[in-house]
Amino acid sequence: MDAWTEPFFLRVVAAGLLASVACGVIGTFVVARRIAGISGGISHAAFGGVGLGYLLDFDPTLGAAAFGLAAGVAIGLVSRRVGAGLDTLISMVWAVGMALGVLFVALAPGYAPDLTGYLFGSLLLVPWKYVLWIALVDAIVLGGVAVLFKELQATSFDEEFAEVAGLPVEALFLGLLALTSLAVVVLIRVAGVILAIALLTIPAAASRQWTRSLRPMMAWATAACAACTLGGLLLSWSVATRVDVALPPGPLVILLAAALYVASSGARALVRRRAEASGSA
């Protein structure tokens, strides 16, 4: 059976490719600015919102977005005031979000059927409505980054000088964290709250090895993310049709991304050694 003739597969691929845009653009800032820890906190805190959605019977994805945004802004505000101890604060937000989620789900009436989808991703079950939401998040992320690119670049690179130049560095940081929260919610669909952070960081880190400024890094991170998502989906599909084992694509996407990173690092080292050899010859 050919995957590309299945309407549901096209929908899933559309969702995965659209999610790659937010993944590559925001992942670039996450890696360059080294806010992977904050992003992990946002992602796990979002699970509290998923649980609240189950408990109060509204869309858990909306809950995830609300909790993710709140966690991002809270960590962002406090991080600029405490300085030291930020990692402790992040781990607290991280764990408290998860704890709330588990309690809310336990309190919710009945059985939560697709809970693992929120933990590890549920790309195969994505409805058209979410494909549109992902496109909307892409538009917000791309619009925000395009309009404020030079300011986001400056504050990410050297916040102190940006402040001396007169930029509103705190507002820009919170804005970046808000965009990060939106991207995280999108990636929860692909890889779940536990694995989303890997998708945000690994493709961008591989891209970083081959690029020297943010814009190409974003483009290549998006391409890497799209390639891994597509690869994970096709792998899941072919395993399902050939040996009749249903592997969730989310973890496959993550493992492919990790393999890509290892391959990229190896290639990078090889290129460098060759350049040194030809330089010394």
């Binding site: 309009v147 690179f157 007169g166 020297r212």
Partner: protein
């Protein structure tokens, strides 16, 4: 333009319970060229950060170009001693220098042709035009220092603060930086932290010594009392052009 460039009145500062500055009073007139001396940990960088509005005094008042320090943002250039940023950050030199052109009220607008020109000129001023397309992580210490000076110049500052700008430079480039500062000090106010007493004695117009308390001096002459009060021990001052000990023997070890 009679407003002082910097005015500190009874400024105290402490990191937690560790006192760093005690009752510092300092007035820097426009177009002055002041060198700030003092031992490590004496509070020099803290004083610059207070002037930049990056720190607030525990007590006392700081005015910069006649206003609160944070309101002077965008008019004050700063060259930090150690880069505060990640050398792995993917950014080109030219984009670093153009940071000096960013302002709050121009956020949503692209950089103008003039912005690019000012940044390019600043890079040329520090003889680093050929570095424009390099990634920031590929620069040597001296090249990076020049790029940071260019970034501060690109801001077109009325007041320029530099924290040990020549510490990582070789002698030829260091000399050219001192000559550049001397040139700039004709049109703007310059405050420089340095340990290079020879260069200071040649170039600056006034000197202040900081060791928690400030010992200001209206000329560039360094007295043994100032240095002793600053460094907490007798110091031999060997100045350029005087190949002998210029201070009287202060007794002690001999």
């Amino acid at each position: 333009m009679s407003e002082p460039a910097i005015e500190l009145r009874g400024v105290w500062f402490a990191y937690g319970s560790v006192p760093v500055l005690e009752d510092v009073n300092l007035v820097v007139e426009p177009r002055d060229y002041l060198a700030l001396l003092g031992p490590n940990g004496g509070g020099k960088t803290t004083l610059l950060r207070l002037v930049l509005g990056l720190l607030r005094p525990t007590r006392g008042s700081v005015r910069v170009l006649g206003v609160e320090p944070t309101r002077a943002h965008g008019r004050v250039g700063y060259v930090p001693q150690r880069a505060q940023f990640d050398p792995e950050f993917p950014i080109r030199v030219v984009d670093v220098v153009r940071m000096g052109r960013l302002r709050r009220d121009r956020m949503l607008r692209p950089l103008t042709a003039r912005d690019r020109e000012v940044a390019a000129r600043a890079l040329a001023t520090v003889e680093a035009a050929e570095l424009a397309e390099r990634p920031i992580g590929a620069l040597s210490g001296g090249q990076l220092q020049r790029v940071l000076i260019a970034r501060a110049l690109a801001l077109e500052p009325e007041l320029l603060l530099l924290d040990e700008p020549t510490a990582s430079l070789d002698e030829r480039i260091g000399t050219s930086v001192w000559e550049l500062l001397a040139e700039l000090s004709r049109s703007l106010t310059v405050v420089v932290i340095s340990h290079d007493i020879g260069a200071i004695s040649r170039h600056v117009r006034s000197v202040a010594c900081l060791n928690r308390r400030l010992h200001a001096h209206p000329s560039r002459e360094l007295t043994p009392e100032m240095l002793e009060a600053t460094y907490g021990c007798p110091v031999d001052l060997i100045a350029h052009g005087h190949p002998h000990r210029v201070l009287q023997d202060h007794g002690g070890t001999r």
